[in-house]
Symmetry: C2
Subunit: 335 residues, 2 copies
């Protein structure tokens, strides 16, 4: 009989409580593995290395506070289960090349980002930033007479990109009876039929033929700055542009020029430069809804990433394949 697998959690108290609240922590302990936790706060990279060499775990569970892994890992370590997104600051490409398995939160948090996209769409259509300015800061009621606010019901929605977040967004949009079009390289007719959406022949068509555009494209060399001023100007007056994907997909100087004219409504969670500079012209515009890159999992939904990680750990213990594996190829595309 083998000795039990050793799992080291390098998590702070809040990370442990947020990602692995009950019953998840109990389920992990019931997995048959020996589980130990170390608080990475004040531990440093050297402290973590010493702990790894001393305890020789097979699995390391990590989160934002975990320090970068040392170049030389203990021979026992076979799997790093990262509870969050980008592993670039945690593992090196060389670790992957030497056969270390690494996973992240995959698509377990996509629905919270889709939810934030829906919030920006509804807020933009209903002119919520305008009302916040008027009622909170200007002591007004309906200062400009009849407002041109719009409903989402029956609108045409165009999605740029069709990964996990976009697919979740389709579900949230369904009760609004929207006609949904998608422009994404990986969508064929079968996928379109499965999700009840249409394919848009080009980005130009996507921006011209829809009332609401939601940008969810990944940031790769081909998509950097792909949302140009010319595309943004195709959006109809009163139409909506929302970006909850990656800021650098948009030519932000162009977006600022278009935003300043007030002709379209804009909702943003991501920016070309983060934190958004205090001098950004996007600030102070009443047709722009702004959040500071918070679309990802709220505190109360970090448990979704924890549950996803737990299933991966259970699969690892059972010798089954893992989900959301970071291969060297995936690693190279991390933005």
């Amino acid at each position: 009989m083998h000795p039990p697998t050793r799992i080291l959690l390098a998590l702070t108290d809040p990370e442990f409580q947020q990602f692995l609240p009950e019953p998840l922590a109990s389920e992990l302990r019931a997995s048959g593995a020996t589980v130990e936790r170390v608080n990475p706060q004040g531990l440093g990279a050297g402290g973590l290395e010493a702990r790894l060499q001393q305890w020789q775990p097979q699995v390391l569970v990590a989160a934002w506070s975990t320090p970068p892994l040392p170049e030389a890992l203990p021979g026992s370590l076979r799997y790093v289960c990262y509870l969050c997104g980008s592993v670039k600051n945690l593992v090196r490409r060389a670790h992957l090349e030497r056969g270390l398995q690494v996973t992240n939160w995959g698509s377990s948090i996509s629905r919270t980002i889709a939810e934030c996209a829906l919030l920006h769409v509804l807020a933009s259509l209903r002119r919520l930033p305008h009302w916040t300015f008027a009622l909170h800061h200007e002591g007004e009621w309906q200062p400009r007479g009849q407002t041109p606010g719009e409903s989402l019901f029956g609108q045409r929605v165009g999605l740029h990109g069709f990964g996990a977040i976009a697919r979740q967004l389709v579900a949230l949009l369904r009760p609004f009876g929207c006609r949904i079009s998608v422009h994404a390289p990986d969508v064929n007719d079968a996928v379109a039929a499965e999700f009840g959406i249409e394919r848009s022949a080009s980005l130009e068509a996507l921006f011209s033929d829809n009332d609401v555009i939601v940008c969810l494209a990944p940031l790769i060399p081909e998509t950097t700055g792909i949302i140009t001023e010319s595309l943004l100007r195709r959006i109809r007056p009163g139409g909506v542009f929302v970006n909850v994907g990656r800021g650098q997909v948009v030519d932000e100087a162009a977006l600022e020029r278009v935003a300043r004219e007030g002709r379209i409504q804009i909702g943003l969670d991501v920016y070309a430069q983060e934190p958004l500079p205090a001098t950004s012209p996007l600030r102070g515009l009443r047709n722009v809804s702004l959040t500071p890159h918070v679309a990802g999992p709220t505190l109360d939904r970090r448990r979704d990433a924890g549950a996803f990680a737990l299933r991966n750990i259970q699969a690892f213990l059972a010798g089954q394949p893992l989900q959301a594996v970071i291969t060297a190829d995936v690693y190279d595309r991390i933005t």
Copy 2:
């Protein structure tokens, strides 16, 4: 053969275009009736009376701009189809008593109000007013470190009232997997089962046992001021209270006190006094999302009320029963 029924539309150009865009206007003209339109702007009550007496229509189609009907109506007039909500400024109780049929937009606009409720719920959970203050007005990014924003997924939602708006809201909440409880006198176990909701035994339980409370109760003597400070204090820290129903259902002074403490998030479209006084303590609070009674149909969805009215006119012409009829009883309860 009878001469064709005469229908007089007393609508401004924008009202006509917004409520009866194509194909609705054509369908009305194809109904077999003789249709004439008068622009009530500058016509006055006397001008409308003269026109009614002169043309002797059987049906009058009215909206916000239509002046109040004269005490003495032409003998021909049998049906007033009001495209909007409250008929109190248009018809007199005596008209109803003498047999005039009157309808309004009924529940055709409920889904837009439900949509506005969802917007306030999402904005409150995600702290959108806080971010608007911070990013637009304070030049900040994430000034207070980790934000306690929450997702709607998996939350417990309590509805106070279960009329047409609440039923539409249930449909919008469905993709979020919320457990929905309702406190309303007209909900029995069969209705609860039909909508997949639970019944809450009391208002106290509704406020204690849910993360998000949405107030949609009608304003009647029994509900005036029924949302007390004691109820509001039952909401858990970080919980949400939204009112898109009637302002006077809430003890607004109590709401102001609770709001000022910042312990809960609040979203409001209606107020005890409208317009909201410039000095209201609700203004300027970053845990309060405010809109100026705009939850009802946005310009682009006034066509829903027009389509509803058209079906009523067609029913009238066919001698069939009408929907959303304003009886004397209903008239007395108008707020």
